[in-house]
Subunit: 414 residues, 2 copies
């Protein structure tokens, strides 16, 4: 993979230029794209910008509006669709000096029907979804940075399946204006890169919050809650092994591991994700469903067929449960420095017909709390298997710091 | 003005048809539009839909995306801009059987630079803003229903200035997907009609929440908090007189009037509206500002020039203040059945150069609580002057019920 920090450091020291760094990304794209199929559209040339991320080629998930590239939403309904404006997050990328390397493949409207993208580690395995192209493009070393979005698990899950680092920040830390909505209470922008160090650097530059480029936290003495999300079902052996491996690493580094079950209100909030998303998605995609139902892919079509039955009462109850969950989350996260859980049920599905399952991600998206993941180990099928680090709302720099601390342990191979 | 309930009743009883009701609206538009200038664009014909609002012509503020009419945002930057999809709120209107009578003039991007619209009561007075065309079209009797949006006071204020009924519902009761954002934490869709009765009927049909078509509440025994919003400055004599008139009517009907000052956290939340909006608007309009600053009107341009200096720290503090304000609001509203305050500083400004002032509206928008207004009386310049009725989050049907109760007293002329 391309390290964002290393590229910037080489540019700063004069060993390369922003233009050459972009040319390198362009060459990697030309080499890997035919196999990986990460991009829905790309500009004619990658021109360097001005700012802290000059020389960084960034993939932009294709539900994010761009003024100079079409925005297809992964659907023929938006074939040739050209928005007038760049979404604020794209403006922020460009203002930081990054260059849009292309629009990355998304599942249709960021739901579950697979994108054409392949997992760079195994062309017959899923890259996950819905931010499939973003995760795969970073994992394949084509680009050092990519934007994704998460409504269930669409940033952390593909990152885990493809073996890249990622953050799903606190709700609304990054502006979702100009991002095609699926469920506005849940939709959250996130970043993917080769390492947590890269993710933190990029998030600091894009959000204008220097503290996101946090120093690595020492795990010594850190209180880490180990949370199995029993309400979400059991993991596969690969993810169980990843959480076990994490505990060994953390304990070896002197962390205090605290089993955390979580209040009943968290399990209730987990279940509220369904009706909340159902009711909002029915409205968010009302035009597409009414006018182009036949052009919707089968999983999304069936989902919307059923979701339309959600009543305002069910929605209001789900919102109350979400609020109780957020109240309970404050106590949950205050018991420890961070919480660690499975990033995904297991390794990437060994099929291109499924993007996997977001059940270990949904609660955190609903709570709006920051989650980060880094590549940790390989599972029995040789594909990435990992954990996610979670903290209370607004503690984004803290999950980055802990992810960086863990990253050092992984690199040291202790 | 055209009464929505009366139109539907006449259709139901066979005295007219949906097509004839729409033809009546079209004729009224043809007659009044040259003077009032409420519409930015209109369809070739008004065709009846199917549903509870069949026969109802509805104006749609021109920052709301429509698939078959351009969406200009009140700005030459969006000249000829044709979105692909209808916004969910437009789909909800159509699903309820209403007919889009046209896109109504908005101030540019729903900020303060005036739209071309005139106040139907006085062609030299402001109709208010930003939902200028929506309020004026209803007030002029052109249409029985219109959609507006409020980020500061852009629904309640123009409704008050033009003498129509309106509701700014609880935050996110109506979906803002496909509505051009200005400040996503604040932007709220609202409805305008001839009466609170009409507003309630329309909100029930559009939101799928039958309880919004609430019965009129008796004011007898009702505990009504009278709140002067001292933190927002003093009202003009016209609004002071309107609040006085309201108190006389309510006391005469047996209501218990309770002076309510409000906690310091409310005044703090009122002030948080500024940095909250500044930080989000800077991002929401980043593309327009970077690429078309010269095409922005002077007030918006100067605003964005200054707003860009807002720091993440100021924004985060404003969000914390907003949250403390929402916590305090639960106590504030629990003391009484509803709160009543000024709807605007006074009568409509006697100039087309200003849309007036949102200082008595901002806090409620930030708190996300429902506000309703109805025509109450005339001020010294002969223009409408009125109050707004406010309740705790989610009690939309209650503010409608109380507004309908007040409406009966006003009609009875007691």
């Amino acid at each position: 993979m391309q390290s964002l920090r290393e590229i910037l450091s080489r540019i700063e020291s004069g060993k390369t230029t922003a233009a050459d760094a972009l040319a390198f990304s362009a060459a990697r794209i030309a080499e890997r794209e035919p196999q990986v199929q990460a991009f829905a559209s790309r500009p004619d040339a990658l021109l360097p910008g001005t700012g802290p991320l000059a020389g960084i080629a960034c993939g932009v998930k294709d539900i994010i509006e761009t003024a100079d590239l079409p925005t297809r939403m992964g659907s023929p309904i938006y074939d040739g669709w050209q928005p007038r404006a760049d979404a604020p997050i794209v403006m922020a990328l460009k203002a930081a000096g990054a260059t849009v390397a292309g629009k990355t493949h998304t599942t249709a409207f960021a739901f579950l029907d697979p994108a054409p993208t392949r997992n760079p580690h195994d062309a017959t395995a899923s890259p996950g979804g819905s931010s499939a192209g973003s995760a795969a493009a970073v994992a394949a070393g084509m680009i050092p940075l990519a934007l994704g979005t998460q409504t269930g698990g669409s940033v952390i899950r593909p990152a885990a399946y493809c073996g890249v680092a990622a953050i799903k920040p606190s709700y609304a830390l990054l502006p979702t204006v100009g991002v095609k909505p699926f469920s506005w209470s849940l939709d959250t922008l996130g970043l993917m890169a080769a390492s947590a160090d890269d993710v933190g650097l990029a998030l600091a530059a894009i959000s204008g919050r220097p503290d996101m480029d946090a120093s690595a936290a020492s795990l010594s003495g850190l209180r880490i809650g180990i949370h199995h999300q029993a309400y979400a079902g059991a993991p596969e052996p690969a993810s169980a092994a990843a959480l076990q491996r994490f505990q060994e690493l953390a304990a070896g580094a002197g962390a205090v591991l605290v089993p955390l079950e979580g209040a009943a209100a968290l399990a209730e909030a987990f279940r509220a994700h369904g009706p909340l998303q159902d009711y909002e998605a029915t409205q968010a995609l009302a035009w597409e469903y009414a006018h182009h139902r036949d052009l919707l892919p089968p999983k999304l079509r069936a989902y919307l067929d059923a979701a339309g039955a959600t009543t305002p009462e069910q929605y209001d109850e789900a919102r109350r449960q979400s609020r109780r969950g957020r109240d309970a989350a404050r106590g949950f996260f205050s018991e420890v420095d961070v919480v660690v859980s499975y990033a995904a049920p297991g390794e990437a599905p060994d099929t291109l017909g499924s993007t996997g399952d977001s059940r270990f991600n949904r609660l955190w998206t609903l709570l709006g709390v920051p989650c980060a993941t880094i590549p940790l180990m390989r599972g029995p099928r040789g594909l990435p298997a990992t954990i996610q680090i979670i903290a209370g709302f607004g503690n984004d720099n803290h999950v980055i710091a802990v992810a960086k601390g863990l990253e050092k342990l992984v690199e040291a191979g202790v």
